[in-house]
Symmetry: C2
Subunit: 148 residues, 2 copies
DNA sequence: GCTTGACCTCAAGTTAGGTTGAGCTTGTAG
DNA sequence: CTACAAGCTCAACCTAACTTGAGGTCAAGC
């Protein structure tokens, strides 16, 4: 009773809600893997669905593909990830996610609350401080005053 | 004692931590405003710092510039925004931010918890369901099965 | 009064994350 | 056995969000 059939790229597209071209793209970026049939067509094991689901959610909250790929490197290459494997990935992201959650909360609440600072004194503003923390942690190529 | 001096683009760049070119860019996108000196140089009022701070934070959590611009349209054009003005903006975003916060929490916690679903039954997986909600709400140009 | 650094505009280039299209192959249903 | 939907590759195109560069102006110090 063929229990775990492999999926074609089209099936994965339908079930995951992303375009075939995007799946090709994710594969090129090393986010998902497939093997090929004798006729050179991709076949996916079912855990690809979970991977794709995680990719979409992570992207939605602002994690770039490169970051997702990095996180996925903690997953095993040649067997279906276990509970423990996903667990590891989760904890690898925990700090980053906690950070983002608190940013969001501050944006949601602080946007109102922060007004207390008058925002003429931007240096003491919680929003501003949050910003500092961000740039300090160096998420983007922030070049404030490079000498030239 | 010249209380509220206007800022040059360079000063805004240093104080806000974004490049001059980015400030030009935000201005072109209608996110910030300046007036010009007789010599055609930009001058900013201090509330631009708050705007830029909010732009950066909002971007960091995945809100595109166009969305920020839309939100900013609730702010008054020709006077410094008051507590009430910022308040409005905040509530305009509240739902979206609440959504994102819960997504993040599910990614952080669910990534571990969700394992219970075995994820072979992807349809019942909380992650997957979250995804469905997203695509249903139509955040991106998701075209699953357009007829062609 | 001239030099130097901060500004200005406008066009072109860059990275991320995909989509679209052409041209060719596979596999399945009648 | 043949049609035709689904796949494949590769190159080109697209939007967002900026940066870089060329070529020219403005203003503050010596």
């Amino acid at each position: 009773m063929a229990p775990v059939r492999e999926l074609t790229v089209g099936q994965v597209a339908v079930r995951s809600g992303v375009a075939v071209s995007a799946l090709h793209f994710y594969e090129a970026r090393g986010l998902i893997r497939s093997h090929r049939t004798s006729g050179n067509q991709r076949r996916y094991s079912r855990d690809v669905l979970r991977r794709v689901a995680i990719i979409r959610v992570a992207q939605e909250v602002g994690i770039p593909l490169a970051g997702i790929a990095r996180a996925f490197q903690s997953l095993p290459e040649e067997r279906t990830p276990t509970r423990e494997d996903w667990n590891l990935l989760s904890t690898a992201w925990r700090d980053e996610l906690d950070q983002k959650i608190s940013q969001l909360r501050k944006l949601r609440d602080g946007l109102t609350d922060c007004i207390g600072c008058g925002c003429m004194s931007i240096d003491k503003c919680p929003l501003r401080n949050k910003e500092d923390r961000l740039s300090a942690q160096g998420s983007g190529a922030r070049r404030l005053l490079v000498e030239r």
